[in-house]
């Protein structure tokens, strides 16, 4: 044994995974030092689509930064909208009408479902199964149609405004959303039969890519990554914002710490999001969707403010420092995947290449959000 171990440690080679690689879903590069197919060391190299959103924020008025938020996490753009408008509302002390908050939650939960569906497809694609991707896209398309009918765009939404939302919904949207909930509930057993219960998938995900709770804490992992490690942390419950305290939903938590646990957390979250949408549609109050007394030029008082929201990938926090002028003095965007990816180097040490890619898929990376 010892002789074998000695001889094997010497011959390593560097494998560049990316910036263009089918498994990295964007322009992420991972510098792998490999011993055969075992990974000795992994170093993610970021910044290929770094756009310096924080600097852009300092050069624009508060309202002008809104379109940027949708372009960081293009899969759950509405949550990023939500985080930014919430922090500015908190800073400027703007009250939001109740109906607007309901619309925010409905749309952003639908967006969360669409994000999870895309992740599901892309993850199975990473594992080599192609068809679930297109089944998931089929369902996702319905959400995109719904959201397009409200927001006017399909991907990089910019729907929330300081003090409300940009447009009210109509009856068709309510009917469409209810029909979609029914449809997706009917499809979930198919996904589980086709994918979750598949022996090949189970063998690939069970006990693969362990991330301990302590590791999550040390790296600041949030979202499904930490919930797959047995940590019950969801910003929607932890520091409730918007109308989430009025909603009855559960936070799925799995204790196994492996890729399967993270997979299951996301699959269960789809159902929970549907529940939230259903309840919000039931309780939807009448009223305006925009506050009356929103000043045209927003000048929050001096000081710094923080607000966190739960996106599909974890806790997204915005810290703004205002100097009382019409542009932010400093805008810090704390994106969840940035922290989640930072544990990748440690987590995949000693793993085999296919397992490391399964682990990477289970982290649900959205590169523009990491690079910002």
């Amino acid at each position: 044994m010892s002789a074998f171990a000695e001889s094997e440690a010497k011959e390593t080679f560097v494998l560049n995974l990316g910036p263009q690689h089918p498994a990295t879903h964007g322009v992420l590069r991972v510098k792998l030092t490999m011993d055969g197919e075992y990974i000795v060391e992994a170093e993610p190299v970021l910044g290929y689509i770094h756009r310096m959103h924080e600097k852009m924020g300092e050069n624009r008025t508060w309202a002008q930064f809104l379109p940027n938020t949708g372009r960081m996490d293009y899969l759950h753009a509405l949550a990023f909208n939500h985080g930014y408008v919430s922090v500015v509302e908190r800073a400027a002390g703007i009250e939001v009408p109740e109906r607007a908050e309901y619309l925010r939650v409905i749309t952003s939960e639908l967006n969360r479902v669409s994000s999870h569906l895309l992740w599901f497809g892309a993850f199975i694609l990473d594992l080599g199964g192609f068809s679930p991707l297109l089944y998931a896209f089929d369902d996702r398309e319905h959400i995109l149609d719904l959201l397009e009918s409200v927001t006017g765009s399909r991907l990089t939404y910019c729907y929330f405004r300081f003090g409300g939302v940009y447009n009210d919904i109509d009856g068709d949207f309510v009917v469409g959303a209810r029909a979609f909930i029914k449809r997706l509930r009917g499809r979930m057993p198919m996904y589980h039969n086709l994918v979750t219960k598949n022996i090949i998938l189970m063998k690939r995900l069970r006990e693969v890519g362990p991330i301990s709770a302590e590791m999550c804490r040390k790296y600041g992992a949030t979202g499904p990554v930490c919930r797959g490690s047995g940590i019950n942390f969801d910003v929607r419950k932890h520091e409730p914002y918007s109308i989430y305290p009025e909603m009855d939903f559960e936070v799925p938590v799995y204790e196994q710490c492996d890729s399967m646990a993270r997979y299951m957390v996301r699959m269960d979250e789809i159902e929970q999001s549907l529940r939230i949408v259903e309840q919000a549609l039931d309780k939807l109050p009448e009223g305006p969707v925009m506050a009356d007394k929103v000043p045209k030029i927003i000048k929050p008082p001096k000081g710094d403010y923080y607000h966190a929201v739960e996106t599909a990938r974890g806790s997204f926090g915005v810290r703004v420092v205002s100097d009382g002028s019409n542009t932010p003095y400093r805008l810090k965007l704390r994106s969840p995947t940035y922290s989640n990816l930072s544990l990748y180097g440690e987590a995949c040490q000693g793993m085999l290449l296919p397992d490391a890619l399964a682990l990477m898929g289970s982290l649900d990376l959205v590169i523009p959000e990491i690079d910002r």
């Binding site: 690689h21 089918p22 498994a23 694609l125 080599g128 192609f130 690939r204 890619l357």
Partner: protein
């Protein structure tokens, strides 16, 4: 001048076999695309010709007109010889396959052995191509191909040995001849030889998938891990020949499975046996191969080795022992 009619017959067969292999490769790509599309509720190729039927021709022209790039740093000889090494044995194997009782190029007494001998060369081609490419992804892929094939030839050959024991011959025509007269005579349902025959068929089928590097055992090409594995550096017709070789191997695998287990050209109900039944069974198996590819995720290679050594090999040995015991008793 006297020419031996046997030589003319062989030449005609050779041309026929090459045409068959090439046509199959082209149209199996079409079938794969069409089938994948419908499984995923798309249409697939539809623009070129009716139902996109001319798409393979257009693809072929595209591949042929593309420049053959030999990247700097590769071993030029190995790099160029590898696609041929994959293609030629596949075509050679066709020589001994009996499509019907008369439609066979050379009815060898060791036909079965010849096919497995040729099938092993295929691995060599992939290995050399990957090694010659001097690409890290390709080298990882080459290592996977070799370990995969070593692991899978054992259960496959053990299963085949079982069949040889039952039939008492390695002549493919004779093996089919013993199964004539309805589906209850086929080896897959030959419960008098061994109650595990359907399982043996499954094992053979799984091994065939692994041998031909088809999903869910396509670790060699695993596009989400190794980009394109052994084919990463190939372009144009070099890639095209590899592809044809792969599909030709699938056709051979399906043919051998048909001959060994499904009674070759025999009709399931004992009526009108002939080449059409052979083709129906073979294409059904190919359809299944494609169907499987578009259903499952990929296994990892250690999952595959586990499957081979812990499940397939023990079961195939159990089947072998059971069969020999039953043959001895009855």
């Amino acid at each position: 001048m006297y020419v031996d009619p046997e030589i003319i017959r062989l030449l005609a067969f050779l041309i026929g076999v090459i045409a068959f292999a090439a046509l199959n490769a082209a149209y199996l790509v079409w079938l794969e695309r069409k089938e994948a599309a419908h499984i995923q509720r798309r249409i697939g190729p539809k623009e070129v010709g009716p139902f996109g039927l001319f798409q393979p021709l257009v693809d072929g022209i595209k591949l042929m007109t593309k420049q053959l790039i030999v990247p700097a740093g590769v071993d030029p000889v190995l790099f160029k010889i590898a696609p041929i090494l994959v293609m030629v044995p596949a075509i050679m194997s066709f020589v001994t396959i009996p499509f019907s009782d008369t439609l066979v190029a050379r009815n060898l007494d060791i036909g079965l052995l010849a096919i497995f001998a040729f099938a092993s060369v295929n691995v060599l081609g992939l290995l050399l191509g990957a090694w010659g490419s001097r690409n890290k992804y390709a080298v990882i892929s080459a290592a996977r191909v070799v370990s995969q094939n070593v692991a899978y030839e054992i259960p496959m050959l053990v299963t085949v040995v079982t069949l040889v024991m039952i039939s008492g011959t390695m002549n493919l025509s004779k093996i089919v001849g013993l199964q004539m007269g309805g589906f209850w005579h086929w080896n897959i349902f030959n419960f008098s030889a061994s109650p595990l025959m359907p399982v043996a068929f499954l094992i053979f089928f799984v091994c065939m998938l692994a041998e031909t590097n088809r999903a869910p055992f396509d670790m060699a090409e695993a596009e989400s891990e190794l980009v394109a594995g052994a084919f990463t550096e190939y372009s144009g017709m070099g890639f095209g020949v590899f592809f044809m070789g792969e599909y030709a191997n699938i056709v051979i695998g399906a043919s051998v499975a048909t001959i060994l287990f499904l009674g070759g050209w025999d009709c399931p109900f004992g009526l009108f046996p002939g080449v059409h039944w052979f083709l129906i069974k073979m294409y059904f198996l190919i359809f299944t191969v494609i169907w499987i590819r578009w259903t499952y995720p990929r296994t990892t290679f250690y999952g595959l080795l586990n499957l081979s050594w812990k499940i397939l090999i023990p079961i195939s040995f159990v089947n072998l022992i059971l069969t020999s015991a039953m043959l001895k008793v009855f």
